[in-house]
């Protein structure tokens, strides 16, 4: 297939992702502005990071005045899954994927883009991935801008309710697999319980570090009790 056709196909496959991102990043924009960031800062964060959980936690670190080491560790812990996805995806790239292409397309490895690319039968071509990343990023960045900008124009009742948007999405990500696998259910419950303990029993622990400690502890427990047999990433 020609480069243009591949690019257009990638854009087409990216439309549902972009639309989904648009509404969720609206919530991020509101949250960021509520936390004291400017519209420009919020939009810039979305353009440079393209990830919901990492950005939300990152804004938490900024608001709390955490250290840069904490910021780096928080991002490393929350986004380490992208390294796994990148590893897995690197196995199914077409020969056209030279190092510069890999370094450029790496920017756009998100849960959803990985999901769509990993499900394809044929090797992934650079223009296909670029098309998808373009549409997804456009949705993510414009949604953030609108949320950050219009967040202050909307009635407080509505912006308050939109604050739950991202958390609702996180729930939608973790519940279906937890329903299917008791190992994931265990991991999720373990992490939630630890996090609740941290919040109320150890209030001096910053939110970012609490997430790292709870996430790592619960994952170690789950990996020991429920080691994964299959090869899936």
């Amino acid at each position: 297939m020609k480069t243009g056709a591949l690019f257009r196909r990638g854009m087409l496959h990216g439309i549902p992702i972009g639309l989904g991102y648009l509404s969720v990043s609206f919530g991020f924009g509101i949250l960021a502005v509520k936390s004291g960031l400017s519209t420009l800062q919020a939009t810039l964060i979305s353009l440079l990071n393209l990830t919901s959980a990492g950005q939300t936690a990152g804004v938490g670190v900024i608001t709390a005045g955490g250290s840069l080491a904490e910021m780096a560790l928080v991002q490393l812990t929350i986004n380490i899954r992208y390294a796994l996805m990148a590893l897995s995806l690197s196995q199914k790239l077409s020969p056209r994927f030279s190092l510069p292409h890999r370094l450029a397309a790496a920017y756009g490895i998100t849960d959803e883009i990985f999901g769509v690319c990993a499900a394809r039968q044929e090797p992934i071509e650079p223009p296909y991935m670029y098309g998808m990343i373009l549409v997804a990023t456009a949705g993510w960045v414009s949604g953030t801008f609108l949320g950050a900008f219009a967040g202050s124009l909307l009635p407080p009742r509505i912006t308050a309710a939109l604050g739950i948007l991202l958390y609702g999405m996180f729930i939608a990500i973790i519940i279906p697999p937890a329903k299917k696998h008791k190992s994931i259910l265990f991991a999720v419950l373990c992490a939630a319980a630890l996090s609740i303990v941290c919040k109320y029993a150890l209030p001096m622990l910053s939110e970012g570090f609490a997430v790292i400690i709870c996430g790592i502890a619960a994952s170690v427990a789950a990996a020991l009790l429920f080691p994964r047999k299959e090869d899936a990433a």
């Binding site: 989904g20 919530g27 810039l44 440079l48 990071n49 990830t51 959980a53 990492g54 950005q55 939300t56 990152g58 670190v61 900024i62 840069l68 780096a72 991002q75 812990t77 380490i80 899954r81 992208y82 390294a83 796994l84 590893l87 690197s90 190092l99 790496a106 490895i109 849960d111 009742r157 308050a160 309710a161 739950i164 948007l165 609702g168 999405m169 996180f170 729930i171 939608a172 990500i173 973790i174 519940i175 279906p176 697999p177 991991a187 992490a191 939630a192 996090s195 609740i196 109320y200 609490a210 997430v211 709870c214 996430g215 619960a218 789950a222 990996a223 994964r228 047999k229 899936a232 990433a233």
Partner: protein
């Protein structure tokens, strides 16, 4: 500290996490423990981020609790991410009208 420095660190770390394995690694991780650990990380991190923070996300524990309940139920029935997220928001909003 300047917000720009935070944003630079955040973006730099996030990019390297994606780019280093995508650009340079070709081997597979062999350790079963490590693979299992990495497999669970996204779920535990999202869970730890959500609970109990979600209860403080709307400025009212009551509206947030209703939104959380709606999200849990709809997610249990496997509805799409966007539907779950928007319904949680709507539920919190509607509950707020009665407070």
């Amino acid at each position: 500290m300047s917000v720009a420095i935070y944003i630079a660190v955040m973006a730099g770390v996030t990019y390297l996490i994606r780019a280093l394995p995508f650009g340079f690694f070709q081997k597979k991780i062999k350790s079963q423990f490590l693979r299992s650990f990495l497999y669970y990380i996204p779920y535990t991190v999202l869970s730890a981020m959500t609970f109990p923070a979600i209860l403080y996300s709307t400025g009212s524990t009551v509206t947030a609790a209703v939104g959380t309940g709606v999200a849990l139920i709809l997610a249990y029935f496997g509805l799409p991410l966007i539907v779950v997220a928007l319904a949680a928001s709507l539920a919190a909003f509607l509950t707020g009208l009665f407070l």
